[in-house]
Amino acid sequence: MVQLVPQLLRQQLAELAANDERTDGRSRWQGRDVELEVDILYNAEGSAKVVMGDTIVYVGVKFDTATPYSDRPTSGSLMTGAELRPVAHRKYEPGPPSPASIELGRVVDRGIRESGCMDMESLCIVPGESVWRVMIDLHVLSDGGNIFDACATAAIAALRTATVPAKRFDVGEDFKLELKSTPVMCSFTRVGGRYVYDANEAEELGGDERVHITLGDEGHLHSLQKGLKGVLMPEEFAEILAQAGVRCAELRELIHSKEA
């Protein structure tokens, strides 16, 4: 039973694809409007809310202090958690972190971490003794499709506007967290046989594999992830990679526009 709706949906999506159309009238590489708000949550040292169609996510950044690893005595650390809680969709169930939520957190984390945008050495308090630990939490309130990009966008926006609460920890004056660049994620989903950018809920339900691409300021790749059942040819990847360059630049501009 559960599988019948997707089958009908898949047919419908295939027909739309044949005409190069999408369920909501967008063109193949067109994203939904993105609303981004930053610094909106009391108690979070950095925060952002992203609305993309029916998708709503909040990201909060918190800090605490920790002992550094002995082989990196001056290096702070970064942790990204994701929760796909039952609030976000009928399909999510309570319980320990699902593989889907683990993947979300880890892919967003890798994009930020591997871009080198965060100077881990700048998070040292006392070498060998105390460093800042940056904790990003992705909180999806409404999953209307493409939560990866919504979360990644909110995460980097929250980081770029975050304040390190040094005063609360009695280690000096608060200061702005410094980011050297703005890694941005773009995700593509195979729908009706061909890839589209920023799939919505129906397109994800009736679609196949997806590819998450994180690009840095210079257009270099920092993170890739293919998710879900399905395969792709190298030429297909080359095509979406070219599109990603354009989409990431647009999102980067939006993120920068929110900075004071």
């Binding site: 809680r85 609030v87 009928r90 309130l141 209307g144």
Partner: protein, 243 residues
């Protein structure tokens, strides 16, 4: 008393509170219904600096079957504080406080929802606290009530979450964070505004019977104020065509 609480002054000389409120004055409250596109019903409540969002899904088939009730729906409530909602980050996962609040909130909501109409089914109520500034359990109950109404779930009344407490020996309405940390008592209630019944009741600290009665009176007064905002939020949502 080193590091004791005796030194914290919570009342101004003119009898007002640190944030300027009168003893029987609520923090500002803002309510919206129908805020989450994919939920069957939802609400957003800002109460002071608290922010709570509630989503309702269902009625749906109750599974696993052992949670089914032959004669009614079960209400499955999850009260959750987002990791970034508090000053110190909260680790996700099992948490005794959240479990207790989820339990008593579910029991309160089961007292007003016409659960007999949906035998063997389940109604999921998800309460997410995005920012916490004292009184989140009450804010969560208010949000859940509006979300249930927004989902079209029949109820014999709404529940309004309100609290009073005691600071420096004086009973006051709606404790804020400092008052909650350094106060002497807290009395959160879930009040049915039409019938005047209580569906939710907790208290801790120290209250004489007289103090309890005054705190209770404040709570009822606040409940009817908040009730107006709840109704307005549902009207606004309906007129936007979302309900």
């Amino acid at each position: 008393m080193m590091g004791g609480y005796g030194d914290i002054k919570l009342l101004n000389d003119d009898g007002t509170r640190l944030d300027g409120r009168a003893v029987d004055e609520m923090r500002s409250v803002e309510i919206k219904a129908g805020v989450l596109p994919v939920a069957d019903g939802s609400a957003w409540v800002k109460h002071g600096l608290n922010v709570a969002v509630a989503a309702v899904y269902g009625p749906m088939e109750a599974h696993p079957r052992k949670i089914q009730r032959q004669d009614r729906a079960v209400i499955d409530v999850r009260y959750n504080m987002a990791p970034f909602s508090t000053s110190d980050r909260i680790r996700p996962g099992f948490n005794r406080r959240s479990r207790e609040i989820s339990k008593v909130t579910a029991e309160a909501l089961e007292s007003v929802v016409l659960v007999e109409r949906y035998p063997r089914s389940k109604i999921r109520v998800e309460i997410e606290i995005l920012a916490a500034e004292a009184g989140t359990r009450c804010v969560g109950i208010t949000a859940a009530s509006v979300a249930l109404a927004d989902a079209g779930i029949p109820m014999r009344d709404m529940i309004v979450g309100v609290a009073s407490g005691k600071i420096e020996g004086v009973v006051v309405l709606d404790l804020d964070k400092a008052e909650d940390n350094y106060g002497q008592a807290d009395l959160p209630m879930g009040i049915l505004p039409n019938t005047g019944e209580m569906a939710f009741l907790q208290m801790d600290g120290d209250l004489s019977i007289e103090e309890y009665n005054l705190a209770c009176e404040y709570n009822y007064k606040a409940a009817s104020e908040i009730h107006e905002l709840m109704k307005q939020a549902l009207l606004d949502s309906a007129s936007r065509g979302d309900a």
